[in-house]
Amino acid sequence: MTPKGGEGTSLLTSGLAGTVGIGFFVLLVLALEGLVAGFALPVPSAVLAMALLTVFFVWNGGVPAFVATGAGFLFRIFPLLFIPPLVGIVKLRDVVVAEWLSLLLVVTLSTVMGLLAAAAAYRMFHGRGRGA
């Protein structure tokens, strides 16, 4: 049985590591925001951060523990983070009301087409690259 104090300490350690990890991601994105704006790059700073971090992990041969813990915390609340931008659609009320039927049909039908085409293409080529 894990002693209560040990459990508390490990929770505190993982909480601290998670906080440091989240802080690391936020600072990295903010730093890249300046780069993206300065060079007028056609890519959002967060997507650039994701690409650069992946390259770093490959070079490093692993993910530092505090970064992995921070990522784990963020993924648990990922859908929550999307609620404010989704609610922000109220600012586009006039556009949505004026074009509601076209928007509804275009969004639903073309998204279904996109989903099914992606999945069908994956299934068609699945397994072909193996053993090459």
């Binding site: 922000g88 556009v95 989903l115």
Partner: protein, 226 residues
């Protein structure tokens, strides 16, 4: 008098309630944890538009978290690079197929409906994440707000209805489902994929990034020819 961060608290509570209902319902689509808070808050702000500014200010901290979470996708992406490398032909085919089918079908539907010309420019970037879509809209002279509306609605639809539609069509492979959600539903579809599994999240993150970057480069080049 307004209580600081009251809307942050309301949003978190509604999300927790939505998540609880979703689990209690056994994962029914209409109880998706994004849907309840979004619908209730949108209805509230349509009735009381004056409250929206305070909501935007109070929940700003979640925006920083969202950017951090997108950057953090490098972790599952790195951990599952082996799976994606193993299936590189299928991964490329899924992203290209999903992207081309999504955009061409959207343009075709607008032509059939004889809808407003403004929609053409807005839908070409509907399956990429909002910041990229807005920069594409600026580049081709399309309406940024109409682009943002199609992006948000597309992501919401893909996240909520994508997994059951794919499952009904017999797609139960985590990589295949992740690629479809990331390609068609950008970051919102990807958030749903991350929630379901690490491998699905990694596939969706790669698809979202690759589709977003390719669309940002190709659309401004091809648009004058259309």
């Amino acid at each position: 008098m307004s209580i600081p961060y009251i809307w942050l608290g309301v949003t978190v509570l509604l999300f927790a309630l939505g998540d609880w209902l979703y689990r209690r319902s056994g994962g029914r689509v209409w109880f998706h944890p994004i849907l309840l808070p979004t619908v209730l808050l949108v209805l509230l702000f349509l009735l009381k538009p004056g409250l929206f500014a305070a909501f935007e200010q109070d929940t700003n901290v979640l925006y920083a978290g969202l950017l951090a979470a997108v950057a953090a996708l490098a972790v599952p992406l790195y951990r599952n690079l082996g799976v994606l490398r193993q299936e590189k032909a299928a991964v490329a085919a899924a992203i290209i197929g999903g992207s081309v089918a999504g955009v061409t079908s959207a343009l075709g539907i607008i032509a059939i409906l004889s809808a407003d010309d403004a929609l053409y420019g807005a839908v070409v970037s509907k399956s990429v994440t909002t910041p990229i879509a807005i920069s594409i809209a600026d580049g081709i002279g399309a309406s940024a707000s109409l682009s943002a509306a199609t992006v948000i609605l597309t992501g919401l639809f893909a996240a909520i209805f994508g997994p059951p539609i794919l499952a009904k069509c017999g797609i139960d492979d985590d990589v295949g489902m992740g690629l479809a959600l990331g390609t068609a539903g950008h970051a919102i579809g990807m958030a749903e994929a991350v929630r379901r599994s690490d491998v699905m999240g990694a596939a969706a993150a790669f698809a979202m990034a690759a589709n977003g970057l390719a669309t940002a480069v190709i659309v401004p080049l091809v648009w004058p020819l259309l």
